[in-house]
């Protein structure tokens, strides 16, 4: 039986952080976190694992209506649930995909003086290695890269662009699939039809 004792809240969290840092510093790159997140005996283990890196009682989060995920993240991190417009971190499980447009429209995009006071999304998606090829450009990418983007990612980027935030305002994304593959697209990275 798996217990929380299998997950090392110091070392495994550090390893998860580094995986996330590699992803956000190299947008479009896929890093697998399944070895770490599979230690957690909870519903939505991948999203919970990512939540453990960033959540505590100083920040607010939203789980797009997933009560079980909200309960486990609250219990493990003491972070407070909040509406989309007040949440620092927004989690969208695969079966809550319908809430993505509303979440992105309402999410905090920061202010010109404090652009860091913006939301970060953790979105569960279909296989990250499948989808329509798109060209990504921006900091962290050498010239340009072609990456397959699943419909959920394309939808998220569409609504982000519709939000029409001019840099430095914006929201940042982490996408994860059921195999624990993680990818990030921060606010400055744009997608173009390949």
């Amino acid at each position: 039986m798996k217990t929380f004792h299998d997950f090392d809240f110091v070392m495994d969290t550090q390893a998860l952080f580094r995986a996330m840092l590699e992803c956000i510093a190299n947008p479009g790159r896929i890093v697998n976190i399944a070895r770490l997140s599979s230690k957690l005996p909870v519903h939505s283990a991948h999203l919970t694992a990512l939540g453990l890196v960033v959540l505590d009682n100083e920040v607010r989060f939203n789980t797009s209506g997933d009560g079980k995920l909200q309960e486990s993240l609250s219990a493990l991190t003491l972070a407070k649930p909040a509406e989309f417009q007040h949440a620092n971190y927004i989690f969208c499980p695969l079966d809550r995909r319908a809430s993505i447009p509303e979440a992105i429209v309402e999410a905090k995009a920061g202010t010109l003086q404090d652009p860091h006071e913006s939301a970060t999304f953790f979105i569960e998606t279909d296989n990250l290695r499948e989808g329509a090829f798109t060209e990504l450009r921006g900091p962290g990418i050498k010239d340009a890269m072609r990456a397959p983007l699943s419909p959920a990612i394309q939808q998220a980027l569409f609504y982000r662009d519709e939000k029409a935030c001019r840099f430095p305002l914006g929201v940042d994304f982490f996408f994860i699939d059921s195999g624990g593959n993680l990818m990030s697209i921060p606010r400055m990275v744009r997608s173009y039809a390949a």
Binding site: V10, V53, V54, L55, Q113, H116, P139
Partner: protein, 286 residues
């Protein structure tokens, strides 16, 4: 390390710093405020860089710490020992072996790779501080991309001295938006920031700011159309120990003889070069 928290800081502190690092990477060149922690070392001695290193480091990392290019200076040795005592990580003076390089005042000569993280200690993160003393006002200036003052400062320098005299901490424009202090690295190192393979993290402990340059991000040194950016010129000079040319050199003056000689500022690079050259010479002799 037994009985101590891994990497000295408590998990809550690391989490806050990690959150700030994510924002800093997502908004290149923007200074993210963070709750700088007390460390058993005075502010101004690299506490920003140390907090970054402690928050990112894991057991499999290999750490290199340099101060003014030297692996053996008091500050570098003590920071390295401090981190090692709380993490048990391997340390090195070889830039190629390191996964995390913490530095003050230099970027190593050896080009850094994508799997490496360069942590720079920053005493003064605000490039507008010489023009505007108020933090509130500089935040507004950054928000409005109002950098007229900094251009004027460079222009006045040019008019007074015939050239821009700032030897280090020379401002760069990041990805066409924020003007950023690259920390007190010499102008010679500025070009290493732009389009680099590695991730740069900047930590200012006293000023409580973290900022970053992701890989392949542009960081253009400010210059006028007719007055191009100029770095230190070491043409015709070479290291007296390893013979290296086209590297950043320290000038050493011998008061007794009046002689001037030059030596690699990056001691790890110089040492490795001497070892490699020595080994090659020994092979030739054999």
């Amino acid at each position: 390390m037994s009985g101590n928290t891994f990497a000295y800081l408590d998990e809550g502190s690391k989490r806050e710093i990690r959150r700030s690092i994510f924002k800093a990477v997502a908004i290149p060149g923007y200074q993210v405020p963070f709750g700088s922690r007390e460390l058993p070392i005075g502010r101004g001695w690299g506490t920003g860089g140390i907090q970054l290193t402690l928050s990112i480091i894991g057991r499999s990392d290999v750490l290199k710490v340099i101060d003014q290019g030297s692996d053996e200076s008091v500050n570098a040795v003590n920071i390295k020992e401090f981190v090692k005592s709380f993490t048990d990580v391997q340390t090195t003076s070889d830039s190629e072996m390191a996964t995390i390089i913490q530095s003050r005042h230099r970027v190593p000569e050896t080009p850094l790779r994508n799997d490496q993280i360069m942590v720079l200690q920053v005493p003064g993160p605000e490039p507008l501080r010489g023009i505007e003393a108020s933090e509130e006002a500089t935040k507004v200036m950054h928000a409005e991309a109002d950098y007229v003052g900094i251009w004027l400062e460079l222009y006045e320098d040019l008019i007074r001295h015939g050239s821009i005299t700032a030897p280090c901490n020379y401002p760069v424009e990041v990805q066409g938006r924020y003007i950023m202090s690259p920390s007190p690295i010499p102008k010679y190192d500025n070009h290493k920031l732009s389009g680099s393979d590695c991730l740069y993290l900047f930590g200012a402990g006293r000023e409580k700011k973290i900022y970053a340059l992701p890989p392949y991000c542009t960081a253009v040194s400010l210059a006028f159309e007719d007055i191009p950016f100029q770095t230190e010129d070491f043409r015709g000079k070479s290291c007296c120990l390893c013979g290296a040319e086209s590297v950043y050199l320290d000038e050493i003056y011998d008061a007794a003889t009046g002689d001037l000689r030059y030596q690699c500022s990056d001691t790890g690079f110089c040492k490795k070069r001497r070892e490699t050259c020595g080994a090659a010479e020994r092979r030739l002799e054999a």
